[in-house]
């Protein structure tokens, strides 16, 4: 700005308002159009994904699909055992991940202020885990659980999912606890409450909405993960609720069936994809609605 005012006299002499203004206006219009196009492309892609899922998957939704177990092609198999396996494994994963993630998040927010290098390292490590490729988590849990035990198991799958869920819970718990005003902690301390009491009964309580959101987001992330389950829970064609045995899950079933050459298996894959996407999206929408309130 200052440059142009210094050079004002010469510039004014050469200044042709129409042409210059026109160029700026055209540039602006061009940028506007390009950005609208970019936005439209993303929206179209979203609609295309939803349309593909609905048009291919909706046909296959029936009571039999939801209740029958997987079976050989042409035998009227369903996805029941995969759905059950998914529910069991994600629940166990959350049972492992929630206490761990909560305590780590509380530590980072309440004890890990400024000069705590250990907390800085943990914070960084949690971010690394959050962005680590999920298939590597699968490899890690394979080495950690499957190799020593000597067989694939639902436990291994749950542990892999838990490793994915923990960083999400840590991050949201810490962020939400940091939003709790210091005055609240001081008020608690002034009433004579010990620190653990202040943290658990005051801070965590007033941040519970956000913490719950974090847990739900972790659930949504973990529910659709395929890669970490490939080498850990392996998948299973029969009904099994035994966590010591290989266990079916919805994403693995989709992965196995999507490339099959039997029409009814491909149909099941699309139906499964529809179920899982809408499950994940429903959780996200619920989170959004509750956050708005």
């Amino acid at each position: 700005m200052s440059k142009s005012s210094q050079a004002a006299p010469e510039r004014l002499a050469r200044w042709r308002p129409d042409r210059r203004m026109n160029r700026r206006r055209h540039m602006d219009r061009l940028a506007t159009w390009m950005s609208v196009v970019a936005g439209a492309v993303l929206v179209v892609v979203l609609l295309s994904i939803l349309w593909t899922l609905l048009s291919r998957g909706l046909v296959g939704i029936s009571w039999a699909t939801l209740t029958h177990g997987m079976g050989p092609p042409g035998s009227g198999g369903g996805l029941g055992n995969a759905i059950l396996g998914s529910i069991i494994q994600t629940s166990v994963a959350l049972l492992i991940a929630v206490p761990l993630g909560l305590s780590c998040g509380i530590y980072l927010a309440e004890y890990g202020r400024k000069t705590n290098y250990f907390a800085d390292v943990v914070r960084f490590v949690s971010d690394v885990l959050m962005s680590a490729p999920s298939i590597l988590i699968g490899l890690f849990v394979y080495q950690l659980v499957v190799v020593p035990w000597g067989h694939f198991s639902g436990w291994a799958g749950s542990v892999a999912l838990a490793v994915l869920a923990v960083p999400v819970i840590v991050r949201t718990t810490e962020d939400m606890l940091r939003l709790v005003p210091t005055a609240m902690r001081e008020a608690g301390a002034a009433l004579g409450a010990p620190r653990w009491r202040v943290i658990l009964s005051l801070c965590l309580r007033s941040a519970r909405q956000g913490v719950l959101t974090g847990i739900l987001l972790a659930l949504a992330r973990v529910g659709g993960e395929t890669a970490p389950l490939l080498f850990t829970s392996l998948g299973n064609q029969t009904w099994s609720s035994n966590l010591n045995k290989p266990m079916a899950s919805l994403p693995i079933a989709i992965y196995q069936y999507a490339g099959a050459s039997y029409d009814d298996w491909v149909q099941l894959a699309w139906t499964g994809a529809l179920l899982i996407t809408f499950g994940v999206l429903l959780i996200n929408i619920a989170v959004r609605l509750s956050a708005r309130r």
Binding site: S35, V43, P194, I199
Partner: protein
């Protein structure tokens, strides 16, 4: 001053404050241990491959399960090229959408589309893979490939990059699918970053007569450059490590070549496909672990870069 000290019970055996401090510390320590264990287990798993092949692990182009000779070049190249294509496509898409949502669209449109974009970011990656097989692969095989083969076959350099048998799977397909997958995520972060520019700055520029694009280019972009680069690097990290979306559409052939439209493989897709058929303790398994270790290094490096550019947490 007459107040007597509060009498404490003499049998105070259990101090909850210390107990909970160590409990929370334990949670943090387990998280630390997890990453440490991850890196150590990958390194030890890949040790056999590193020592057996030595330098030839990095400078040959074979991945031959029959002769049991492996090298990381072909999958690494596939990973890097497909992630680059994804970035080239996704960055303008994300930037444009973020510009539109923050500066141009009306509040209602912005709210609806912004939510839709964030929902798109939450869709599981396997869905993108299936969608890619169903829509992008036929498009490339039937429209784009024949077109390139017809018009560009004799053009030097570009011809060898763009032509090839019209199978539809390959680096370009997976690049497109990855771009669609990471663009919403990058858009969401960029919207946040653009929104954090002080309104006063933009208003001053508008007051001086700047157009919307000029405000974007001269005020908002310089102000939020670090955040934008951070978003791009995070998106790159996701593109590098993505498994399911890529496995469906890359074609899974471990060779090195010029064409962007021929089937290739990436590190993650190779691990996903060959791991189940590799017997425990074999050199093949170890090579896959070594690949995983290298991928982990990539992922760590991109995160460090993103944090460095962002200057700590938001």
């Amino acid at each position: 001053m007459s107040m007597a000290p509060v009498p404490r019970s003499s049998k105070r055996q259990f101090d909850f404050d210390i107990f909970f401090h160590w409990l929370f510390w334990g949670g943090a320590f387990v998280v630390l241990l997890t990453l440490g264990g991850l890196i150590v287990l990958m390194a030890t798993g890949g040790w056999q491959a590193f020592t057996t092949f030595g330098l030839s692990f990095f400078d040959r182009v074979v991945w031959n399960p029959v002769k049991d000779h492996y090298s990381v070049v072909a999958p690494l190249l596939g990973t890097i090229v497909s992630a680059s294509i994804a970035l080239i496509l996704a960055v303008p898409l994300a930037f444009g959408t973020a510009f539109w949502l923050t500066n141009i669209a009306s509040a209602r449109v912005s709210a609806v589309v912004g939510t839709a974009v964030q929902l798109l970011a939450a869709v599981p990656s396997i869905i993108f893979g299936m969608w890619g097989v169903f829509t992008i692969v036929p498009f490339i095989a039937r429209v784009l490939q024949p077109f390139f083969n017809h018009h560009l076959r004799h053009v030097p350099l570009v011809g060898s990059l763009l032509t090839g048998p019209p199978v539809g799977t390959g680096l370009m397909t997976s690049g497109i699918v990855l771009a669609v997958m990471i663009a919403p995520f990058m858009t969401a972060v960029m919207c946040d970053v653009f929104g954090s520019v002080p309104a006063m700055l933009c208003e001053s520029a508008y007051g001086l007569g700047a157009t919307r694009w000029e405000v974007m280019r001269k005020i908002i972009v310089p102000w939020s450059r670090n955040g934008m680069v951070g978003a791009i690097v995070l998106g790159m990290g996701r593109a590098l490590g993505e498994t399911m979306a890529v496995t469906f559409v890359i074609g899974n052939v471990t060779v090195v070549g010029w064409s962007l439209f021929a089937p290739r493989s990436t590190v993650a897709s190779l691990i996903a496909l060959q791991f189940p058929e590799s017997p425990a303790g074999s050199i093949r398994l170890s090579s896959l672990m070594a690949l995983g270790f290298i991928l982990m290094l990539f992922s760590c490096a991109s995160l460090v870069l993103a944090r460095f550019l962002r200057g700590g947490r938001k």
